[in-house]
């Protein structure tokens, strides 16, 4: 028996509370809609619950990771690739890992705050090189929403006038760390564009939030709300309107549909009791993450939609992509015997390298950006792993202790993050036999990189090695071979899954229209990474936020017009 959550009906039910769900709730409650939000995890506000500035030694595990905090026990995000009671499966030969956040705010509690706009080319890749698909919208459609996101949430950066890396309404960027100046110098020598990074960490107070105090621990969540996470920046203000009802520990099972083929609400498992409940709403918005939203649609089967809701043409689950990634780090002799100073800075890099080359001269079609790390970070578990790779060669005793002191902070690393071309071998579907602990059928993943991505990874590896050599450094690892995939990450490990519920003008090759509204069901929308037609060499969050706001405006306008 399915119990009604409340006697009342809502205007909108949102599934998920991350960047997409939070922004949708914020925008729609501002416009007066009565909204209910379902979140599979528990309540969590960084401003109250963060482990900011807790030193490693305050815990017996010294900050080491555990099962539900794979990025360290102080990390904000409760989740990971391995969640108890919530399996997923892989087709034979597939290497793919599915990361999920299980808490209010989802993976906005996890991310690196790298807040990049997609550029004009990123929406029209196919027109440029014939690969993948063009988006049904252009940069100009999204630009006003990027502006609004910049102003509401805050992002620092510098105005550089780079055509495909559009400037935003930036707050001042913090000065680089000294080793980042070294990176800039080497980049200049190698003609690699290197500019101040663009992170959603505020350097000036806005909307009652304090400016950054440079403790370098954004990943733990910020007590003073100086960085962006959905609960403190979007959901808090939405709750203040009195228009938002938040239901946590609510695992969505199915979108329900009426005889007319319209969505009527969502059935969910109350994880506290195990009971199934139902919320009724005039509009349903999925923002559960690209793959989780696809799963929910595929599991929403009815006489009218036997293949799953929104899936009449079998497109749900298709177009799954992740960001490509590979890393190289090295020892920089110029940095030994550091000058003691506080180098924490913001919780992330102060400089980065946006894509700078012309693909016509390369053996892969799309670009990547380079992230920079190193220097004097807070010593914790894993401290200077691989000490045997330094000139001392390892050892023990007084000489080892002195080596640690000498080489501490004398490392610089680079991480490439690039664009994958969508391919027919990367998708998810419902596993025919496996269910999770609530009996909800789970996803089965299919994954295969193409040579485009392998060649791109080789280029990243070569570039990073050149940078380290340019700084007079020694690379810690050997150049990975072709058999080692040139060091390319496995699918899902960069945690930028996009697609699976794609937008497009052709209903036979997309699930949603250009307003992120289902072709099959006009009161169903998706505002997470699902609608993305392609990746870009940019992290997706800023675009998820902008699209969610744009979709929310469309919903509000359609409601006003009586169409929903």
């Amino acid at each position: 028996m399915v119990e009604r959550e409340a006697a009342e009906d809502y205007d909108v039910c949102i599934v998920g509370s991350g960047a997409g769900g939070g922004m949708t709730a914020y925008a729609l409650t501002q416009q007066g809609a009565k909204v209910v939000m379902l979140e599979a995890g528990g309540e969590w506000y960084a401003s109250k619950d963060t482990k900011m500035m807790v030193p490693a030694y305050a815990s017996p595990r010294r900050g080491a990771s555990n099962r539900n905090r794979p990025f360290g026990e102080f990390d904000a995000c409760d989740g990971g690739w391995d969640i108890e009671g919530e399996p997923f499966t892989r087709a034979p030969g597939t290497q793919f890992s599915w990361w999920r956040g299980r808490m209010l705010g989802g993976r906005t509690n996890h991310w690196g705050r790298i807040s990049l706009r997609f550029g004009p080319d990123d929406f029209k890749g196919k027109s440029k090189d014939g690969l993948g698909e063009d988006w049904p919208i252009s940069y100009d459609d999204v630009a006003p929403y990027y502006d609004r996101v910049d102003d509401l949430i805050g992002v620092f950066g510098s105005r550089e006038g780079l055509r495909n890396h559009p400037d935003g309404n930036f707050q001042p960027a913090p000065r680089p760390r000294c080793y980042e100046l070294l990176v800039k110098k080497a980049s200049d020598k190698l003609d690699i564009t290197c500019i101040p990074s663009r992170l959603s960490i505020i350097t000036k107070p806005i909307h009652g939030r304090q400016a950054c105090h440079y403790c370098g621990q954004c990943n733990r969540g910020c007590q003073v709300k100086a960085n962006f996470s959905s609960p403190d920046v979007l959901i808090g203000p939405a709750l203040k309107t009195g228009k938002l009802t938040l239901i946590t520990q609510a695992m969505a099972r199915e979108v329900t549909v009426g005889k007319d083929g319209l969505a009527t609400g969502v059935t969910y498992v109350d994880k506290r009791t195990g009971a199934d409940k139902h919320v009724k709403a005039k509009v349903v918005v999925l923002a559960a993450s690209a793959c989780e939203s696809a799963r929910l649609l595929l599991n929403s089967r009815s006489a009218k939609f036997p293949q799953g809701l929104g899936n009449s043409t079998g497109w749900v689950g298709k177009g799954l992509t992740d960001t490509t990634g590979t890393d190289v780090s090295g020892f920089i002799p110029a940095m030994v015997d550091h000058v003691p100073h506080n180098e924490d800075g913001v919780g992330g890099m102060h400089v980065y390298m946006p894509w700078w080359l012309d693909n016509k001269k390369l053996d892969f079609p799309r670009g990547y950006h380079i992230e920079v790390w190193g220097g004097l970070s807070a010593p914790g578990t894993g401290f200077m792993g691989g000490i045997a790779n330094y000139p001392g060669g390892g050892g023990y005793g007084k000489s080892l202790k002195d080596d640690y002191r000498k080489y501490y902070g004398a490392t610089i690393g680079f991480s490439g993050r690039g664009e994958q071309i969508p391919n027919a071998d990367c998708y998810c579907e419902i596993d025919p036999t496996t269910v999770d602990q609530w009996g909800i059928p789970v996803l089965r993943f299919h994954w295969k990189w193409s040579d485009y991505e392998y060649n791109q990874s080789r280029h990243m590896q070569e570039t990073f090695r050149s940078l380290i050599h340019e700084m007079g450094g020694e690379v810690f690892s050997n150049m990975p071979t072709k058999d080692q995939g040139y060091g390319l990450s496995t699918g899902g490990s960069i945690i930028h899954e996009l697609g699976c519920v794609q937008m497009g003008n052709d209903p036979n090759r997309s699930v949603l229209n250009a307003n992120c509204q289902a072709h099959d069901c006009k009161n169903l929308f998706v505002t997470d990474g699902g609608p993305f037609v392609t990746q870009a060499d940019k992290n997706p969050t800023w675009t998820i936020l902008a699209l969610a706001w744009r979709t929310s405006d469309y919903i509000a306008q359609q409601r006003k017009a009586g169409a929903l």
């Binding site: 080491a64 100046l181 578990t381 080892l400």
Partner: protein, 215 residues
């Protein structure tokens, strides 16, 4: 909090009050101070009973840890920083993999076996010279003989745990002169001594950006 207390609090947090940080309201500073005080509160000093290691292993671990990171003029030893306690905790806790437990135990057994084969005595009962003879053979990754690679793998992982624990301790932070993990709202890049050492400057950085923007 009065303004005088506020000044003391800022001092305790290591913040030099500067113009432009007016957003640092008194209540937020009070909150931050309280948190830092809580963190600096005394830690438990009672004797530790290992949950994973046996009594013999525990003795071996403590001895080996202090050989790896001994006390010197700048700081204490691995056991002073409770490195063995950290290692025992991590191996005993529920998320520890079965393999990590086997390798930790098996590695210590390998060490005793190697000592007995060479000197007819276990690690604890041997002399400093005997211990150094075996450790010299397994502690320098790139120079290890093939037949001793198992011992080297164990030593490598043991040393990494000892270093993790030692340098993540309050003593380790002090030893490394790590002076972060504080409220530092006046961030203005790195000091001139640090940039000078690397042969870089903010002027050069700004000039390079300006030049590119003009192109």
């Amino acid at each position: 909090m009065s303004d005088i207390n506020r000044r003391d609090a800022l001092k305790a947090l290591g913040i030099v009050p500067v113009a432009g940080m007016l957003d640092w309201s008194t209540p937020s500073v009070a909150r931050a101070t309280k948190m830092v005080e809580r963190l600096h509160a005394a830690t438990d000093t009672a004797a530790y009973a290992p949950k994973f290691y046996t009594a013999h292993e525990w003795k071996t671990v403590r001895m080996l840890a202090d050989i790896i990171i001994p006390k010197d003029e700048r700081s204490g030893s691995a056991t002073d920083a409770k490195a063995p306690e950290f290692m025992d905790f991590m191996l005993a806790e529920k998320d520890a993999s079965e393999n990590s437990r086997i390798q930790a135990r098996g590695g210590l057994a390998w060490l005793d076996t190697e000592m007995r084969a060479r000197f007819s005595t276990d690690f604890i009962a041997s002399t400093d010279a005997q211990r150094h003879q075996v450790l010299d053979d397994i502690a320098f990754g790139k120079k290890v003989k093939p037949e001793l690679r198992r011992g080297a793998a164990f030593f490598n992982s043991f040393r990494a745990s000892v270093a993790s624990a030692f340098f993540s301790s309050a003593m380790g932070w002090q030893d490394l002169k790590y002076i972060g993990n504080v409220f530092n709202p006046g961030w203005n890049g790195c000091p001139p001594e640090a940039t000078k050492k690397l042969g870089v400057s903010y002027e050069e950085f700004d000039a390079s950006l300006a030049k590119r923007r003009k192109q």
